[in-house]
């Protein structure tokens, strides 16, 4: 019995799901819906990875992207107008150029896929994908893997510094100015502004 047909049906369905939900990301009125459409696209690609015998990577896609898209949806509701999608909304610029760039990218990459002859070397029959990945990560490519870990740590520190409400010299929304050189003097290392200089702290109002 040729089971390959089952693999094909699954692949085609998942491929359509990945593309359609990826497209819907930019065609929906609600930001939250957009992030969950993106999650759907990731899940479809993860399932295709499982079909390709990448057992760890496919499953890792599910949980990595589950958490990432959850955080994304939270940010959507925090920052965006119209998070619930009750009003139709178009927030795009340079629409035609972008459309052209997207189509060009697809055509160029697609032609490359169609015209190049890639070597036909499938997975060896006895390969254990998970063990092979583990030995590579903590063996031959350990330096690369550990550098990724260090970069992640640096990211964590950077993110906390960037987004922390408390600046080095006090709360961010109160100006966060360094103390004066003399007691009660002007903030150190800060040029005087025209009108409201003096002993009080500067308050910057942008709007």
């Amino acid at each position: 019995m040729n089971h390959g047909i089952l693999v094909d049906i699954a692949f085609l369905l998942l491929a359509v799901l990945a593309v359609v939900s990826g497209w819907r990301v930019f065609r929906t009125d609600s930001m939250v819906r957009a992030s969950f459409f993106l999650l759907l696209s990731f899940i479809a690609v993860g399932a295709i990875m499982l079909l390709l015998a990448a057992e760890y990577l496919g499953v890792a896609m599910f949980f990595m992207m589950g958490v990432e898209m959850m955080v994304m949806a939270l940010f959507m509701v925090m920052f965006m107008m119209n998070p619930a999608g009750l009003n139709p909304m178009v927030m795009v610029h340079q629409h035609r150029i972008s459309m052209g760039a997207g189509v060009t990218a697809f055509l160029v990459l697609g032609l490359m896929a169609l015209l190049t002859r890639f070597p036909n070397r499938p997975l060896p029959a006895g390969l254990e994908p998970v063990a092979s990945l583990g030995h590579e990560m903590l063996g031959g490519s350990m330096l690369i893997f550990e550098s990724a870990a260090v970069v992640l740590l640096a990211t964590m520190i950077g993110v906390v510094v960037l987004s922390s409400h408390r600046g080095r010299y006090g709360a961010a929304n109160e100006g966060s100015l360094p103390p004066g050189l003399a007691p009660g003097g002007d903030p150190a290392g800060k040029p005087k502004e025209d009108q409201d200089g003096g002993h009080e702290h500067h308050h910057h109002h942008h709007h």
Partner: protein, 309 residues
């Protein structure tokens, strides 16, 4: 052959899904009565009565909800519970999904549960439901890391991410003894991912039902069944990861699993009835400041023990 390999697993999972959800409902009522709550009907019949009542009740509609997502969210949560149940090994060969990375797949079920519960609260387009959804995300992001460290801890002695291997590594000594911090921490995760009892922040009474506050009728029935089924799936994973799964003398493997799952369920439901609900901000602080470092300790413990052998 294809029937045996493709259809039988589905039947097993569905049977456990239905039977497990029912037994959760019965056990919860029995425990409540034992603890002195006013007796509300026959514990064997009243879950069925409530189910039938919800089935004929009309489904509530809010103003401008995200209709598809709102109706889909309970079904998706049920599907996640079924996925979790499919990972539970009943014996060495009786496993629906014996993936080489089944422990990681359980982690993704936990992560996606956060998404689905948020979707359930958000799509109703109602304030209390949205607050419940937000609270759940705060809780979910807190327990996910704890769960991952604890699960890596049980994968270390097994030298595998496969749940059947994890069970077999407990032949000599169960993980509940080998890693004493593991099971208590994992039980907290279980209460969190089904937002049960003390960790019921999403659907709590102070939010008039939270994410489910606007849901009635059949969708509500699916939501309640899905929560109970998720509790069963969790107890299956906990029994396999810490209580030796199908291993045990006298009884056959699947029976041992049923006994151990019922024991985990009884502890969870009892905790749900006797521990009061934690305030959301305290819950998040406690998880990050106390429980997450404990999970680190558990992982280091497991790692050192694995190196020792």
């Amino acid at each position: 052959m294809i029937l045996n390999e493709m259809v039988l697993p589905i039947i097993v999972v569905l049977a456990v899904l239905v039977g497990g959800a029912y037994s959760v409902a019965v056990m919860d009522r029995v425990i409540a009565t034992r603890l002195g709550a006013p007796r509300a009907g026959n514990p064997w019949l009243s879950p069925l009565t409530r189910g039938a009542w919800l089935l004929v009740q009309q489904a509530n509609v809010t103003e401008a909800p995200d209709g598809r997502a709102w109706r889909l969210a309970p079904a998706l949560y049920l599907a996640l519970a079924a996925t979790g149940l499919a990972l539970v090994p009943w014996s060495e060969t009786l496993v629906a999904t014996d993936l080489a990375t089944s422990v990681v797949l359980w982690g993704s079920v936990e992560a996606l549960a956060t998404v689905v519960i948020f979707l359930h609260g958000w799509s109703a387009n109602a304030p209390l439901a949205l607050i419940g959804a937000y609270r759940y995300v705060a809780l979910g992001l807190s327990y996910l890391l704890i769960s991952m460290f604890v699960l890596i801890g049980v994968a270390l002695p097994a030298e595998s991410l496969q749940l059947t291997q994890v069970v077999m590594s407990q032949e000599g000594l169960w993980n509940v003894v080998r890693q004493p911090l593991g099971l208590p921490l994992f039980l907290v995760v279980g209460l969190g991912m089904t937002f049960w009892g003390p960790l019921n922040l999403a659907d709590s009474t102070d939010l008039a039902g939270g994410t489910a506050s606007e849901v009635s009728g059949p969708p509500r029935l699916v939501w309640d069944v899905a929560r109970a089924a998720m509790l069963v799936a969790f107890s299956g994973i906990a029994a396999s990861a810490f209580l030796g799964g199908w291993l045990g003398p006298w009884l056959s493997g699947p029976l041992w699993m049923v006994v151990k799952m019922l024991a985990v369920l009884a502890v969870l439901l009892w905790l749900g009835r006797v521990v009061p609900r934690v305030a959301p901000e305290r819950c998040v602080t406690g998880m990050w400041v106390v429980l997450l470092p404990l999970a680190f300790v558990d992982l280091i413990w497991a790692g050192v023990a694995a190196l020792w052998q």
